[in-house]
Symmetry: C2
Subunit: 591 residues, 2 copies
């Protein structure tokens, strides 16, 4: 089944990538990092990059876009956007108001001086716009990083360029496929290779420590949040807390609340770590985060609960008789079968109900619509269901796979719950994927190899558990199952060899088909310009290789243009978020 | 120093590969393996390959050459060559003979019927030539494998094609850089990926067993070759053997002779294993064989002698107190310092003397010239010095590096011998490389990363030994050297990242320079046809895409042409062997 699924996903990926009627901007671009210092013979970074790639790809090179450090310009741009949204909100409120009272604000949310919102926002926008322009010019000319996006005139050239070593010193001019414009992590694109590597090592260390010692701060905080301590910190609470019923409820629930709060923080923390690692695209950060989450829950939930309190005594046993290691899981599992049986059942009966009815989103949308939304854009934003959130969904489902497989030897009834969980899941999530959630990026099935590897890992853990359980029961034919894990590992290697590389890189075969329409290269180029810099890049269709820094000085864009472009961008992205997935995303949803 | 050396070799490699005045046929070709079965819409394998690559590389594709199973045609061709050489030899002998006696042969070397050599050879050649032609046609049409060589019209296209994934199923149409024509292992080019992988695993297993248990058959045979046993097997020897002096010499030397014989067999055995592995080029097989030899001598000579007889007792100690593992080498090394000191001294004083004077080659050349050589070609062959034989030279020198580094802590005088060994070696081998040996292939410095990694490994072993020795002596500042191995490992990672990949693949940068002359693509194509099939491929310069099988039927080459082509090939290769290295090989020799 895994083989068939891999084959199927691989086919779908090939079909989606080679679609002749969808223009994917990322297929025309590559990312190049670790560009050496600008030589004296070259005017600037862009000149250097252009001449390098022109010499290598005389016919196929189209243009380049140097990565800049946008931290500051981004702050200003976000401020501007915030005030523009506030202004639109206030204007809509004013227009709807029957008493024609102008909406007002206070300086510090509910304290401070009162002032007119519309005037205030207009004033702020008027000061921010020239500031943004100045910062944009400064960024484009002065804050260039050692990376660039290179655009090619056809997909084949870009695909093979992304896979070829360019420089004699292999750690300079390193290339890679460009991420989709909408999921680019611009800040990480500018990182040097060694910095990236170092960050990765540090993040792995932090994750390992987190996995091993996550229970320690929880225990620590639980110890400090006893009722007695609470009474000292918040003395006005003591009359309430002293009541017998309240006291018993609180005493029982405080550790649970702390645990739930920490577990809720975990995905955010892991996502933050994955972004800090230096990963250039959102989809890859999600995969990295999902992987970390998987290790976390396998070790802390599955292994933790299974071996649990007996861990230390078990290690002592192991030292006496090292052969016992194979029997460890087989011995511990029967004791915890009931716990995991109810765990899967809970997930099955409650989890999918919540998933289908989405009570929290439902509630929040009506609250937002009733009290906070004034403009159409705000209403659309409140309605937007978001995407599937693979970063937590995938590891949780993989945990169920692991539990069901491992406990199937001892408590076969768990298989029924497992089958029900994944059958219902197929129906529910198919509906959610096709009709509810809207993908905010597209990785063309790259999540599958990640899941495949972890399902196989679960299978191998299960096979070892089975060997352990059979040995414990002194089952006569137990040695017959020993080849199973070896076969699983061989299968993993063959799968990796057969499919994995075409998920890492785009095969040349899939991009050799001619496009139905000749793509507009200027539009593709503009897709990659980050929104906060967009107004600084010229609009002319005819200009073949624009020198961004000088062009912006010659033809300063109008104030009106800036506002228009920001508005367009915003409404476009909202529309695409709201009015369903594009054909390319549908292809992958049906996986 | 390692950094500077890597940098230097990397520069030399880049310069040699981008030389604008040397045409390297392998830069215009790639190897493609694991081609799927021929679809029904295609005439044959060549048609399938051509149409596939034409669709991907419309302008750059030039031609393809399907790999065939040449086992049988090669046997016939070698027979033919043997008889042709014999004929030339006999004719030269006849011409030089003053008595005008025709040279004769006996059927089984010195027994059997006597017959006239010239007549016999002529008869054999006359029967073999049509047989060869028939077998050639059969091979080209019927024995096609799943691999092919693809030729491109320019170097850039070939370089990026060799690094790009082509097919959706990444285990079909797998590509790689083509080896030099003169070092192609044609038989291995036809292997499928999984077969190659399996062979590699089996070979690794055999090598591991060989390394661990090589002493066992030696001991076994030594036990069976005592004088008493010899007397039973060869009873006529007993009068000689019974003499006291002969007896004592024989008793002392038999184990040594057996050991020397086994050690002399080892490189041939390892080279045989490396070729069986499925490696497509001679240079890579030499590297693989050198690697195996390195592990062998480090484990059997260095570790074997150092820990030696105390191995089993040491393991028992370790079980009692596992912390001792760091002190193991530090403790054993002082006991063997004298042995290795004399080992290095012997290598230094005797080894380079033999290397410079080459007494065996000198003797063999004069014996051959006096008694066996009749033709000019035979004389040239007897004179040819061969190549450097990296497969045994490199691991032996790396053993000296390891010994000198590790023993420098205990017996610092070994450093003097080490410095003398490598200084003299620099002088001697520079002379040998430039003036004596003739490289039979060119890998453009790919041996260096292999050596670099092993020098670093020696350095790390040395650093651990040092820590062990310092701990044993309870040296107060010993912990200060603990960061050294960590730094060495970090250095290895940085070096690998910076340089290694441009040794694995050709960087695009180095092949983007224009060639001084437009290469003759037909000549490049013909370079890759194996000698035993050469006469079956058409000679026409004008024909752009020859269909080998049909063309050979339409224009059967003349008998004379065949002999001429064989002769030309032979004398050309001899001339190039004898009259010095080509410019491209000189570039790498000066490394």
């Amino acid at each position: 089944m895994l083989w068939k699924a891999y084959n199927h996903v691989s086919e779908l990926r090939g079909t989606a990538l080679s679609a002749p009627d969808v223009i994917m901007p990322e297929q025309y671009a590559i990312v190049v990092r670790d560009i050496p210092a600008v030589p004296k013979t070259r005017k600037d970074r862009k000149d250097q990059v252009d001449s390098y790639f022109k010499s290598l790809y005389a016919d196929e090179f189209y243009d380049s876009l140097v990565i800049t450090d946008n931290t500051e310009v981004n702050i200003i741009w976000e401020d501007l956007t915030k005030y523009r949204n506030k202004l639109a909100h206030a204007e809509a409120k004013f227009a709807a108001s029957k008493t024609r009272t102008r909406p007002t604000n206070k300086k510090y949310f509910i304290f401070g001086k009162k002032f007119d919102t519309i005037d205030y926002c207009n004033k702020m926008i008027a000061t921010l716009v020239p500031k943004l322009k100045k910062e944009q010019q400064k960024t484009i000319r002065g804050k260039q990083k050692d990376s660039a996006l290179i655009f090619f005139t056809n997909r084949k050239a870009a695909t093979s360029a992304a896979q070829t070593i360019h420089a004699k010193k292999a750690d300079t001019w390193t290339v890679g496929e460009a991420p989709e414009p909408r999921q680019m992590l611009w800040r990480n694109l500018g990182l040097e290779f060694y910095q990236w590597q170092l960050r990765q090592d540090i993040v792995y260390l932090i994750v390992a420590l987190t996995i091993l010692f996550y229970m320690i701060p929880i225990t620590f905080i639980t110890a400090f949040t006893t009722l007695e301590k609470l009474k000292i910190i918040l003395p006005f609470m003591s009359p309430v807390v002293d009541k017998a019923m309240v006291k018993s409820v609180l005493e029982g629930s405080i550790p649970q609340i702390v645990l739930i709060a920490f577990m809720a923080l975990l995905p955010k923390f892991l996502m933050f770590l994955s972004r800090t690692e230096g990963i250039p695209s959102v989809s890859r950060a999600v995969r990295a985060s999902s992987g970390k989450h998987f290790y976390f829950i396998i070790l802390n939930v599955f292994i933790g609960v299974t071996i649990g309190g007996t861990l230390f005594s078990t290690i002592k046993d192991l030292q006496k008789n090292p052969k016992q290691i194979w029997m460890l899981l087989g011995k511990s599992i029967p004791e915890n079968a009931t716990f995991f049986l109810s765990f899967v059942a809970l997930k099955l009966f409650v989890g999918y109900g919540i998933e289908l009815s989405r009570p929290f989103s439902f509630f929040m949308f009506y609250v937002n619509k009733r009290f906070f939304c004034r403009t159409a854009a705000e209403e659309k934003k409140a309605w937007a269901p978001g995407d599937m959130n693979y970063a937590t969904r995938v590891p949780n489902d993989l945990l169920i796979v692991t539990i069901v497989l491992c406990y199937s030897v001892i408590a076969p009834v768990i298989i029924l719950f497992g089958v029900a969980y994944f059958s219902l899941g197929w129906l529910v999530l198919r509906n959610q994927a096709l009709n509810v959630y809207i993908p905010s990026y597209e990785s063309y099935g790259r999540m599958w190899p990640h899941m495949h590897a972890r399902i196989l890992a679960a299978l191998i853990i299960y096979q070892f558990t089975m060997i352990g359980a059979f040995s414990l029961k002194q089952f006569y034919y137990a040695p017959l199952v020993i080849p199973l894990p070896i076969l699983s590992i061989a299968f993993a290697i063959v799968c990796r060899r057969k499919f994995y590389y075409s998920f890492c890189h785009t095969p040349l075969e899939v991009v050799c088909a001619e496009m139905r329409e000749t793509p507009n290269l200027r539009a593709i180029y503009k897709e990659f310009i980050p929104p906060c810099l967009r107004s600084e890049y010229p609009d002319e269709e005819a200009q073949p290789v624009p020198d961004a820094s000088s062009a912006s000085l010659l033809q300063p864009p109008e104030y009106k243009d800036l506002i228009k472009s920001v508005e367009e961008k915003e409404s476009q992205s909202l529309i695409s978020n709201l009015w369903g997935p594009t054909p390319e995303t549908e292809a992958s949803n049906s996986v």
